[in-house]
Symmetry: C2
Subunit: 158 residues, 2 copies
């Protein structure tokens, strides 16, 4: 039995729900709920940024050094979460794939073509407009994605 405490900084209702959904999903597929899978989900939940497998691995190594979590486990878990539509992977510009929890509200992305940084935003008017356009063209809208490319504030100052 592990002595590791997950020591969550936040345990919101929303997170509890997400965790429960994850457990149900695992059970339905004869997969096991492990401490590694839990801390990866928790880390994604508590992070505001889009994480690469590498950065996620670093964070986890610092936060839970006794777990000695392997990079392979991070990759495997991210694939599992992506297949299960719990996280979404993005890959814009230069540096590799980035993952984000997909359970939150729908949002679009501003992507810096210089540093690869990704900022999220939501705009109700655009959401509405998209529905209008789909309707007008006799299209049954299921999902959408939008990216704005450009140069972020800090890169402009360089």
């Amino acid at each position: 039995m592990s002595e590791i405490s997950t020591n969550f900084t936040e345990r919101t209702i929303e997170y509890e729900q997400l965790l429960l959904d994850f457990k149900v999903l695992l059970k339905n597929n004869n997969l096991k709920f492990t401490i590694q899978r839990e801390v990866i989900l928790e880390c994604l939940y508590n992070s505001d940024e889009h994480l690469t497998p590498e950065s996620l691995h670093n964070i986890l190594q610092n936060k839970y050094p006794d777990l000695k979590i392997g990079i392979a486990t991070v990759y495997r878990t991210l694939s599992l979460l992506e297949d299960s539509k719990i996280v979404t992977s993005l890959s814009f510009g230069a540096q590799g794939k980035k993952y984000e929890l997909g359970a939150k509200d729908h949002h679009d992305h501003l992507i810096c073509t210089e540093c690869g940084d990704i900022t999220e935003f939501v705009d109700d008017q655009i959401e509405k407009k998209q529905h209008q356009i789909a309707d007008k063209l006799g299209f049954k809208m299921l999902d959408h994605s939008m990216q704005i490319y450009g140069i972020c504030q800090s890169c402009q100052q360089k």
Copy 2:
């Protein structure tokens, strides 16, 4: 002097313009116009699909075997074209980056998840809104892409 003929299947006005722009760009940056750079641009122009560096390399090896074009040259040229905003790289789902020519008009797409049909549209209000959002967040907007996924009219009738 090379004996290779580029043997273009199509040489539209649009392509000639693109090629000219490319030549001007090269000259302005003290770069040289090479047969390799030309066939890569031509191949991207004549392809309907999004190409990976790998697939582009294969196509070029088959089409111009005597050129013996190296994979490094493909990567280098794609980076150059991307930096110059002539092509855009995308990365959907699993493996690696894909490139497409980005010189055309803004591409907003309605994509049918049933039949794969793609309809283009432009909406001024959305374009404006995007600029407003970028401005508000101190972001210098260069480009954008938007996709709406759903079911098209004819697939709904089936």
